[in-house]
Amino acid sequence: MAEVLKEINGKALADLEDPATKQQIKAGQQVPGFAWLKDDGTTLCGNWIYSGVFTEAGNLSARRDPTDPSGMGVHPAWGWSWPANRRVLYNRASCDLDGKPWDPSRKQVWWSEATQKWVGNDVPDFKADSKPKDHMGPFIMNPEGVGRIFGPLAAFADGPFPEFYEPTESPIDNPLHPQQTHNPVVKRFKTPDDKYGTPKDGYTVVCTTYRMTEHYHYWTKNNPMNVQLVPEPFIEIPAELANDLGVRGGEKIKVSSIRGEYIAKAMVTKRIKPMMIDGKKVYQIGFQIHQGFRGIAEDEGKDARTLANTLTPTVYDPNAFTPEFKGFLVKVERA
């Protein structure tokens, strides 16, 4: 595997010299960082942001030196962070226009008049010799050089400023603009398995899912110790909702979305209170995701369960394509 990381770091394919420092590296040597990469075929690098992780000094990700000279949690020789072992991105912005830290008690980087360079406790995320008076923007990865309050052109599919839209399944129309309740560029799927519930169909409870300390995703249901800690799923419901249903803690309830159902014991809680949403009383419930139909408890014939995601809708964020797992509509009944 170390060979893979070496290739990801990159190496010289010809003898190279840095025109500024006159530093030389020979063909076949690991490049010290991405500043050495060329567009003429004389360097090789699997992933430029990782360039610097495995240099002629060895595998820097294997370093375990805990020293922290600044006391600010930088730990510069513990592993290696991309890019260029910088711990805080855009750290030029930690200084005022003159290159002095906004807070002298938490000095990260600063402009050194003596050396005419940016120096510091962290690796400056900036052009090292750019004088403050030249007004180079600290957000060097943006063509503007500055942070984007307005995200222009193709930066986002659904607007240069964020606007609130309701989840695909929501208990109310969007109070900001009821005629445009949802994110307008989010597409719904159209197969027979793709259905989306509404309060009119009886789906009025807002549901979310989460993870627990005692389990890791869908994995630890195969580990006896984790299964001992949390052997079966449960559904957290507000005490008021439990009263409405006549359900006590430990009794089984059924949560259904328009796509499917999930049955488990009720955990009646005061940790989730009923809410007033745009003048309507709305219940929220939640349950953990960690069980399924294969695992220690499952294989012992303790009732085969459906998966938590049986309930969630097929719909996703138009920028990152992440599905909408949280904030869908369900109904809750005694099982």
Partner: protein, 488 residues
């Protein structure tokens, strides 16, 4: 993360929202606790549930799941109204003073930004641009035959108002956009009572009281923010809050995603998504006829006020791309053949997770290699994914345990008779677990950390790398008779 786990000990103020680190990142959570203990930092938790993180917070607000943008938009509104902003930072380190195109329209009337195409359900984003110096619109770009017209470029020199007063500058548009996000509106949407919201907003923005720049606040989130049909925009709103308050780039500040898996950060860095190549280089599309074409499209040129300087580090994209293609294709990548650009797959449409399962459900995707993930369980809409696998020709699962994906054919609700009808061939390959292999993991803080093999793989189990190597060599053998792409 812009910052890192250990750096959280430097903060004065925390907003934890869409995440529950006390329970889900219990080890990392010691750093927020350290900030409370040693700096008297304050912690605000906003969550649908009173979690264990909320239990140690200075303030808790119960929010309706999915209404986060309303809360954060309300925070922007509050900061602007009460002058709790970092003025110099805003004017010099953000695009607040940039003038926006006259044709750009906010969604304040009908919920739509300018350029919406209702039929295609997409935006024409040409008006979402800065105005060029002297009020000039950027030059229009020509469409290639059969391709949609590309967007105009960013103007090289941007019209700019350092006083932030121009009604069409980003700062004034921001003010207008969030003027609707009043405490009353926040209450209607999120369910957080107005008085409670105001208390939280006052506390969070108190780091910029009287314009003082010394204090720093951080925003911490996890998948409670990303798992929405507007997840990216939730994080965008948080970024705007942090830019407005001058919290980005600073120790104890930033916008910090808590990753749920030890190497999720590494997976995205290494092209875990269909639309990126290693190091977040954008994938080529069929519209990129050559390496030069591709580079022209994905290499930005600087766009800034005349009196400022911009490093535009992504201007180095061709160096990163050529070096990557040399790593991929070695001597086969030459200047003459555009660094073997023709070998790179051209991504013609969306191949994201949900789309992939939809393709299989519709019968256009015939098989799947499922390694290190339980696709049926991780959903969404597990039943659809199970129904999709029933239609596949084959499924290869590489795992250390049988799971809901390898055993999709015996999901609850599938009868014995129905099982007999399922024709999918399933191959189960015993793989290595995390303790059975060496390699690096990249944590939430972008720290790459090497680990050594702790125990050997049992029985017939093999590293995924061994299997993938075999797939590659056998595919190469089969493809040996196909013509090599011509040089461009």
């Amino acid at each position: 993360m812009t910052n890192g786990w250990v750096d959280m000990k430097n903060t004065d103020m925390m907003l934890i929202m869409g995440g529950n680190p006390a329970e889900n990142h219990p080890c990392g959570f010691k750093w927020p606790v350290e900030a409370k203990r040693t700096r008297n930092a304050k912690m605000i938790v906003v969550d649908p549930r009173f979690t264990r993180t909320a239990a140690v917070a200075d303030m808790f607000c119960q929010i309706r799941a999915g209404s986060d943008i309303a809360f954060l938009g309300g925070l922007i509104h509050y900061a602007l109204e009460n002058n709790r902003i970092a003025k110099d930072y805003l004017a010099h380190y953000t695009n607040a003073g940039f003038i926006v195109e006259k044709d750009f329209k906010l969604p304040d009337v009908d919920g739509l930004f300018s350029g919406f195409d209702a039929e295609k359900q997409t935006y024409n984003r040409a008006s979402w641009n800065y105005q060029g110096a002297g009020g000039k619109a950027p030059a229009p770009t020509e469409a290639k035959p059969g391709m949609p017209p590309p967007l105009p470029p960013l103007p090289g020199t941007v019209d700019f108002d350092p006083t932030l007063q121009n009604p069409n500058c980003v700062f004034q548009l921001l003010k207008k956009q969030y003027s609707r996000y009043t405490p009353e509106m926040v209450e209607r949407i999120t369910g957080i009572p107005k008085e409670q919201f105001l208390k939280a907003a006052d506390l969070y923005t108190s780091v910029r009281k009287d314009g003082d720049m010394k204090k720093v606040s951080t925003i911490i989130y996890a998948v409670g923010w990303t798992h929405h049909s507007f997840g990216t925009q939730i994080i965008r709103t948080a970024a705007i809050v942090q830019l407005l308050l001058g919290n980005v780039g600073r120790a104890g500040g930033g916008v910090n995603a808590l990753r749920g898996h030890s190497n999720i950060q590494g997976a995205t860095d290494m092209a875990g998504l269909f639309d990126s190549l290693p190091g977040y280089l954008k994938v080529p599309t069929p519209a990129d006829a050559s390496f030069a074409d591709w580079m022209k499209r994905i290499t930005p040129t600087s766009s800034k006020p005349a009196v400022w300087d911009s490093f535009n580090y992504n201007g180095n994209t061709p160096k990163f791309a050529v070096s990557m293609l040399k790593a991929f294709y070695g001597d086969a990548a030459t200047k003459q053949n555009g660094w073997a650009f023709d070998y790179l797959p051209k991504v013609d449409r969306n191949y994201s997770w949900v789309q992939m399962w939809d393709d299989m459900y519709r019968g256009t995707l015939k098989g799947m290699l499922a390694f290190g993930m339980n696709g049926v369980a991780i959903g969404p809409n597990s039943k659809k994914n199970i129904d999709a696998l029933k239609k596949a020709d084959f499924l290869v699962v590489g795992e250390i345990y049988p799971n809901e994906t390898s055993d999709f054919w015996r999901a609850p609700g599938i009868s014995t008779d129905e099982m007999k009808q399922i024709q999918t061939t399933v191959y189960n390959l015993p793989c290595a677990g995390f303790a059975e292999k060496d390699g690096s993991m990249t944590n939430s803080a972008r720290w790459v950390l090497w680990k050594n093999t702790a125990v050997p793989t049992p029985g017939d189990a093999r590293l995924w790398l061994r299997f993938s190597r075999k797939f590659v060599s056998s595919t190469k053998k089969k493809a040996a008779s196909s013509p090599i792409p011509s040089s461009t």
